[in-house]
């Protein structure tokens, strides 16, 4: 009893509050997108809003359960969770069902569950567990290889399920690694690679390569010191050129056509309002039509009449944009930012390294979903199907995010017990 009172006193209620608001806004949007003119009961399990209500109920139970369980439970069993999820990810490749082109669902009765969603928290746990071990040396190559291995493994398995979006989420662990001391150069290199990749697609190989060579040439002329020490500069240049060639080859020959198409549309190379650009265009129209103050609850005709595909799952942000307008989405963005920064600040106050790293894992995953999901609805990110945390319809995603967040809240509530 004593223990429980302490928990409720130490739980960060601000986070819980934001979580609740986000879940509620999500449900309202699902309701508006899926409810017909006459609604007899909110708990109609034939409808999405009815089902989501049920999922929310389970999520609350799940959250309560996590807060009751001993805080050490998750850190102790981190690897067990991780290995268990890896097995599930392999299992789903063999026994899973295919939904919308991704073989990533276990179907049990009328019920479908997506292991990829849960693999995120397990990976965060494993990463935290590994990096918080006392003998880990951040600068050692072994550490780097293993930690990258921890996130690459589930990412690859998910990629095999043909669920690119969920696989990309594991990139977000880069933020955790950065915080824990990985070299910043790695991220600068990643940024440069991204830039080169986009430039190669938008312009042409030859143009980008000549630009790279031109820049090196100018550096050589302007800075004397590099003229003497030219080897690393030339090394980088050759690497860059190799990267341009290989990325161009990969884009043209390896990437599936629909992915390639989506990237082309995003970069404005193709104007394909029928195909890949269709979703985004409809989405932009829906959001844009919301105006400053929005059309009001249940008045978002575009989302209500199914003009935006996937409007209660991946494109749920459109509903908010159309019905609540710029003011509504601004409030939503502020809520998300508050949540993310709050998690960072909570992570930083942890005495336990495990809790801190896990906290960063939570923030990173949420941030990645937030960025890509909202980014794609407003045409700033490629359309990869990943949900908006806490808002999007779906039991797996809601429970996985609830699990992810509340494990951290439990760690945080327990922080004072850690020596």
């Amino acid at each position: 009893m004593r223990n429980r009172e302490k928990i409720s006193g130490n739980v960060d209620w601000v986070t819980v509050m934001i979580y609740s608001i986000l879940v509620f806004v999500g449900w309202l949007s699902i309701y508006t997108a899926s409810a017909g003119e006459d609604v007899s009961t909110l708990l109609d399990l034939n409808t999405r809003y009815g089902k989501q209500l049920l999922w929310i109920g389970f999520a609350i139970l799940l959250a309560g359960l996590i807060l009751i369980i001993d805080a050490e439970f998750f850190s102790t069993f981190s690897y067990v969770f991780y290995l268990g999820l890896l097995l599930l990810l392999i299992g789903v490749l063999i026994f899973g069902s295919t939904v919308a082109g991704s073989k990533s669902w276990f179907k049990i009765g009328g019920f479908a569950i997506q292991p990829a969603e849960f693999a995120k928290f397990a990976t965060a746990l494993a990463m935290a567990k590994y990096l918080s071990a006392l003998n880990v040396n951040m600068r050692a190559l072994k550490t780097k290889v293993i930690s990258i291995g921890i996130l690459i493994l589930p990412a690859l398995l998910i990629l095999l399920q043909n669920d690119t979006g969920s696989a990309l989420v594991y990139f977000s662990f880069g933020i955790v690694l950065f915080r824990e001391g990985f070299s910043g150069l790695l991220f600068i290199a990643a940024l440069m690679m991204t830039t080169l990749f986009i430039a190669t697609i938008v312009f042409s190989e030859t143009l980008v390569i000549s630009a790279v060579a031109g820049i090196v040439f100018i550096i050589m002329i302007l800075f004397k010191k590099y003229r003497k020490n030219w080897k690393p500069i030339f090394g980088i240049m050759i690497l860059a050129i190799a990267f341009v060639f290989s990325s161009n080859y990969a884009f043209e020959n390896v990437l599936p056509a629909h992915q390639k198409n989506r990237i082309n549309v995003l970069l404005g190379i193709e104007q394909d309002l029928r195909g890949a650009g269709y979703n985004v265009n409809q989405s932009k129209i829906a959001i844009g039509s919301g105006g400053l103050t929005g059309k009001g609850f249940r008045n978002g005709v575009l989302t209500r009449y199914n003009f935006v595909p996937e409007q209660s799952t991946d494109f749920i942000f459109c509903t908010v944009g159309e019905e609540w307008g710029f003011i509504g989405v601004s409030v939503l963005l502020i809520l998300f930012m508050t949540l993310l920064i709050r998690i960072i600040l909570l992570a930083e106050r942890q005495r336990s390294k495990f809790s801190r790293i896990y906290g960063y894992g939570v923030a990173s995953i949420l941030f990645f979903h937030f960025t890509i999901n909202i980014g794609m609805t407003i045409g700033l990110a490629p359309v990869v199907g990943i949900p908006l945390p806490f808002l999007s319809y779906g039991g797996s995603s809601l429970w996985a995010f609830t699990l992810l967040l509340f494990i951290f809240l439990k760690q945080d509530a327990n922080r004072l017990n850690v020596l």
Partner: protein, 612 residues
């Protein structure tokens, strides 16, 4: 010591988070507040403007008999933008076309507009549309629009009623009332009274979902406009008379025009061969139209208003009237006739000589009217025959010859009364009455239309005046006359008294023992008429007859032309007489004559000729 080394990196991470949020906020501000084009596209996506087509005005005859009414037809419309992930084979199956045609139609629709609806398939029957409607929800971008087609209870009067058809690009440019796919009166009454008949289309704004399913009215119909039905119109046509006339004219080339002398209302306007107006309706319109267009008998031409003929002997009365007015001729004036030997114009009729005016009209004596004409032109009160001719020209044109009436008669032509300058040019100034002598007997350059001939009959019936021949009598919801010009009395240059002798002579054409139409005399009706035989350089002579009746209170004035049928008295006169009887008595008692005329086939020769 090691873990705190990097805690400042949290600031970089938070900074990145905030950067993304700020980029999003800016982007959203642009999308939602600055750029209004998304709002417009949103309206276009969910709001569909459905044009409500008003029923087109109905057309009645003078007794309120329905001549034209509407029947529902259905158009399948397409909005290319909404067509995505469509099942092409399903579309082809339900609309009964092949894939290639479908793609062609879709391309055409796309060329017109990506966002606006255009017609995909026209005028689908009630039976077929039911089948399509069942499957329609599976095909976004297609919807049904109800339209009305014209139907004609009597298969008559195609020429004067005209037809409706889809608007052309030019018509749309001229009048922004029309949208592609709209119907417009293309000819005849449908065309002339288009702006009254068409009504006003309404606009219903409805909300549809992505599957094109109707979700309800937009803003409770606040912005909807209601379609206003077109106005019904009443014509002076007597549908029964028109039908009877068309029956009499079957298998003959020519025309009939009947006018009510007191008003100028046209009672019948017949051009033969004609066509069933029901042929030019609906999907078969263009096919039938091109068939009619290729027909060597030119059924599409309205001979009653477009056919021009030399008036022949019927014109002799005009010369007589001008002479009487000029006092260069009296009813007692006598001229001799040497028959075939007469100069400069021979006489083909066998009659006594000399003869007076009344007898000359009855017998249609050519030399008599040559002399009449000569004395008009060579009237000593003028400087010479040129001035005389000019005076004659003014008199003749006051009868409505050589000009259009400019009423609602479709496709009117002017005919031709040559003027001085024409002859000056032709003969380089040196000409006199002898040079233009053919005009004395209604031959030569002079050309008149059947409607002008009927109008001549009207003038004689009215003793010197006419009202511009017109079709419309009344329009729904319009108490006063639509066009006051229709009721403007047109007075000729001839005094009423001068008509008496001509009228009496015309009576004798029926009643006298040697009258040229004496076989068609009726006891119950005093008919007045005049035969004409028009020399036709291309074939057999045209038979012409003008008539009015009853003499003392004329109710009907008529002109009949039967092409290539020989003497006026053989075909044209009995047709005119039967029509008079039908109109005044409601039915003709002369059944055998009626039968003989209806069964008479004068096209046989034409047909044979065409086969060669």
């Amino acid at each position: 010591m090691h873990s705190t080394d990097y805690s400042s990196r949290k600031n970089i991470i938070i900074g990145v988070f905030l950067l993304v949020a700020i980029i999003f906020i800016i982007r959203l501000f642009y999308l939602q507040v600055i750029n209004s084009s998304y709002k417009l596209s949103a309206d276009n996506i969910v709001l569909r403007k459905v044009r409500e087509y008003p029923p087109r005005g109905l057309i009645y005859d003078r007794y309120g008999k329905l001549m034209v009414f509407n029947e529902a037809a259905y158009d399948l419309m397409v909005i290319p933008r909404q067509m995505k992930d469509i099942d092409t084979s399903l579309i082809c199956e339900i609309t009964g076309i092949d894939k290639l045609t479908f793609e062609k139609k879709l391309r055409k629709a796309k060329r017109y507009s990506y966002y606006k609806p255009s017609t995909y398939m026209k005028q689908i029957s009630k039976k077929d549309i039911g089948k399509i409607q069942e499957k329609l929800y599976q095909i976004p971008g297609l919807f049904i629009q109800t339209r009305t087609l014209r139907q004609y209870p009597y298969p008559i009067a195609g020429h004067l009623l005209g037809s409706i058809g889809e608007v052309s690009k030019r018509e749309i440019e001229k009048d922004n009332f029309y949208k592609p796919g709209d119907y417009i009166g293309k000819s005849g009454i449908e065309n002339y009274y288009e702006e009254y008949l068409r009504g006003k289309s309404g606009l219903k704004i409805v909300e549809v979902d992505v599957h094109n399913r109707l979700k309800g009215k937009y803003s409770n119909g606040k912005f909807d406009t209601i379609a206003v039905a077109g106005k019904d119109i009443f014509l002076g046509i007597d549908a029964d008379l028109q039908l009877y006339g068309e029956q009499l004219m079957q298998n003959k080339k020519g025309s009939i025009v009947a006018i009510e002398p007191k008003t100028g209302e046209i009672l019948a306007l017949i051009s033969s061969p004609g066509y069933n107006p029901n042929l030019l309706v609906g999907r078969e319109r263009s096919e039938n139209y091109s068939k009619l267009l290729k027909d060597t008998l030119i059924p599409l031409m309205n001979r009653a208003t477009m056919g021009t003929y030399p008036p022949g002997s019927t014109f002799k009365m005009v010369n007589a009237l001008v002479g009487l007015q000029d006092k260069t001729l009296t009813k007692y004036t006598e001229y001799g006739c040497k028959g075939q030997l007469s100069l400069p114009i021979k006489c083909t009729h066998d009659h006594k000589t000399p003869l007076n005016l009344s007898e000359a009209i009855e017998q249609s004596c050519n030399p008599y009217f040559w002399n009449t004409y000569k004395s008009i032109l060579e009237n000593p009160s003028y400087s010479g025959s040129h001035e005389g001719y000019e005076h004659w020209y003014e008199n003749v044109t006051s009868f409505g010859f050589g000009k259009k009436f400019k009423t609602d008669i479709p496709f009117e032509v002017r005919g031709n009364i040559p003027n001085n300058s024409y002859f000056d040019k032709l003969y380089r100034g040196s000409w006199n009455s002898l040079t233009v002598r053919s005009l004395s007997i209604g031959q030569g350059e002079i050309l008149v239309t059947p409607i002008q001939l009927a109008n001549l009959s009207t003038i004689i019936a009215n003793r010197g005046y006419y009202y511009p021949p017109h079709l419309l009598t009344k329009m729904e919801g319009q108490d006063e006359v639509l066009n006051p010009y229709f009721n403007e009395k047109q007075i000729t240059s001839i005094d009423p008294d001068n008509f008496d002798v001509v009228r009496t002579a015309m009576l004798d054409v029926f009643e006298a023992d040697n009258g040229t139409a004496r076989w068609y005399k009726l006891d119950s009706i005093k008919q007045c008429g005049k035969t004409g035989t028009v020399q036709n350089p291309h074939g057999d002579d045209h038979s012409i007859f003008i008539a009015f009746a009853p003499m003392d209170n004329p109710q009907i004035a008529i002109s009949v032309i039967v092409e290539n049928s020989g003497f006026g008295s053989t075909w044209a006169a009995p047709i005119a007489s039967l029509l008079i009887e039908k109109y005044l008595n409601g039915e003709s008692q002369r059944k055998s004559l009626e039968k003989k005329i209806m069964e008479g086939n004068l096209l046989q020769g034409d047909k044979n000729k065409r086969q060669h």
